[in-house]
């Protein structure tokens, strides 16, 4: 009896020291995350339900109502949504195709991989000038249009601006996603593919019924990653067109910047909370979908 108690005590002290190291190692990170992200987020929630930082009167959903009715916010949300809905599927499909291209039996693979990855390494600010020259009213693209006698377009000052931004997004992000797909393709068990080939399965059948099945978790991951990256498109728009873009290119981050400049905490807070709710819902859906698909493959 006594022995048992002693042993118990010993194991508990080991556990205690383990808990101590566990906490020591994570402490700096946890402290920083708490101070800079989690705790102030509660302040953000608080600001979103009071009328102003001086009066501090509780107004419940009024700020949210105001933001949803705010024209600038609606425009920014609409543009960002349009952009994401077009750009994300495009980038997922095209990067999968690029990965399959590099997986096929072609020469110069490593050089091709490097070229596709190159845009990711180059700061947008460095190449923005070239993009401006290409899509200027008198720029290269319009000169090419002229050869084919097509109507020239004032790309950056019209609704067509979205096209330019989508191209820039694809250019920047395809390489990263392609690497993710290449890694996933190399993880597909080779024997299954061989059996399928011996059974006489065509390459199209193999792609849709086998490869896509194994790639589905990666497809989901690339989708969510691209969605997150699509919210960063402000960078391209800002560097391309400055503080005041054409209406069609007015993004959520523009709205946030302007609201920061005016120090309107209530607007900022409620906008941030609406966006975080949307993000959590999207991430939640992704987790559920990945859970179901993951089970299927195993």
């Amino acid at each position: 009896m006594r022995k048992k108690v002693k042993a118990n005590k010993k194991s508990r002290t080991i556990k205690g020291s383990e808990r101590a190291t566990e906490l020591t190692f994570i402490a700096p990170s946890l402290l920083g995350v708490l101070v800079f992200f989690i705790l102030p987020f509660f302040v953000v929630i608080y600001y979103s339900i009071i009328d102003n930082p001086i009066n501090k009167e509780f107004v419940f959903l009024d700020n949210f109502k105001a933001i949803i009715e705010n024209e600038a916010f609606v425009l920014a949300a609409k543009n960002t949504t349009i952009f994401s809905v077009i750009a994300v599927p495009l980038v997922v499909v095209l990067s999968l195709l690029l990965a399959l291209l590099l997986d096929s039996k072609i020469p110069f693979k490593s050089q091709l991989r490097a070229s596709f990855l190159c845009p990711m390494m180059v700061p947008i600010a460095s190449v923005v000038l070239i993009w401006q020259v290409m899509f200027h009213k008198n720029g290269t693209v319009n000169q090419i249009f002229e050869i084919f006698e097509a109507q020239p377009v004032d790309w950056l000052k019209s609704n067509q601006g979205m096209v330019v931004v989508i191209i820039m997004f694809l250019w920047k992000n395809l390489g990263y996603n392609m690497i993710l797909f290449l890694a996933a393709i190399s993880n597909i068990p080779g024997d299954i593919m061989e059996v399928a080939t011996l059974e006489g399965a065509g390459s199209i059948y193999k792609f849709f019924h086998l490869k896509l099945r194994y790639l589905s978790p990666t497809i989901l991951f690339v989708t969510i990653l691209s969605l997150i990256n699509s919210f960063k498109i402000f960078r391209e728009v800002y560097l391309l067109t400055g503080d005041y873009p054409f209406d069609a290119l007015y993004m959520l981050q523009h709205f946030m910047n302007n609201t920061f400049n005016l120090l309107e905490y209530q607007k900022l807070s409620s906008a941030a909370i609406i966006m975080s709710i949307v993000m959590v819902v999207i991430i939640g859906i992704m987790f559920i979908v990945e859970y179901w698909f993951g089970k299927d493959v195993e």
């Binding site: 808990r19 566990e22 906490l23 994570i26 700096p28 990170s29 946890l30 920083g32 995350v33 101070v35 800079f36 992200f37 705790l39 102030p40 302040v43 690029l98 291209l101 096929s104 072609i106 110069f108 091709l112 991989r113 490097a114 070229s115 990855l117 190159c118 845009p119 390494m121 180059v122 700061p123 947008i124 600010a125 460095s126 190449v127 923005v128 000038l129 070239i130 020259v133 290409m134 200027h136 009213k137 008198n138 720029g139 290269t140 250019w171 993710l180 290449l182 996933a184 960063k232 402000f234 800002y238 560097l239 391309l240 981050q253 946030m256 910047n257 900022l268 807070s269 975080s276 993000m279």
Partner: protein
Amino acid sequence: MMKTVSVKKQKRRQKVANVFLTIFAILCAVLFLFPTVMTIANSFMTQKEINANYGAMISNFDESEGKKTYISEKLNLKLIPDKVSVEQYKTVLLKSSDYLMKFWNSVILVVPIVLFQIIVACLAAYSFARYRGKLKELLFFLYVILMLMPYQVTLVPNYLVADTLGLLDTRMSIILPGIFAPFSVFLLAKVMRRIPTSFIEAAKLDGAGEVQIFTQICLPLSKSAIFSVVLLLFIDYWNMVEQPLIMLSDSDYHPLSVFLSKINSGDVGLAFAVAVIYMIPTLLMFFYGEDYLVEGIAYSGGIKG
């Protein structure tokens, strides 16, 4: 007999397809490289040649009329300079120290963020990898959600803290939240979880303490992953735009990633050289660390560890 013919035919068809695929892939690669190569090529043009080719981008502000006038309507994207010259680089490096200052601004924002984020993340990742439990999984999930939040969300709490601590308009308002960003914790925890527990158990039997296990087993085994995270972090922060615009109202402190777009319309003649100087660090990293980079990207795939 029939069969061998059809196999041969199929093989030939495969070959033709491969030729087309190769040509297509090379065309794609050219398109991907185009903007970068153009920027580098144009940085060797003289001011005169730039003015002649990019007149429609270069404006002079006319005081009397109160509007911008462009020196010409012409715009002509040109790959090969008439005369290769380092005039642009000379002007940037010797005469206008402004751009060098902005480059320095980038360096002192990005280097501390990358350095300290890696240190903090290695420690936290070790804790996540070694000790698991319900509460820990929940915490890890919180880190993942935080990692996936866009700047539009995270900058608001960051701003409030910076305001409270009186850090606004100082570099610390960007560096401190940057150090604690959860991306590298997530990635390194996933890598460290792959280290076989038998390694650690063996070290323990030999009498190694936690600190020794961490510094002599975990860190060396994760070395290449740590290096690839450094690359990914550096590229990301070298490209920062959102944070300086909100945290630093004084544009003297702005990094080159923001400032470059502002000089574009004025000094197009210098812009190409500045642009090239700005991409040199990341391009060098790419040339020397491409394999690490690819490995790092592959690690980041999949939310679950």
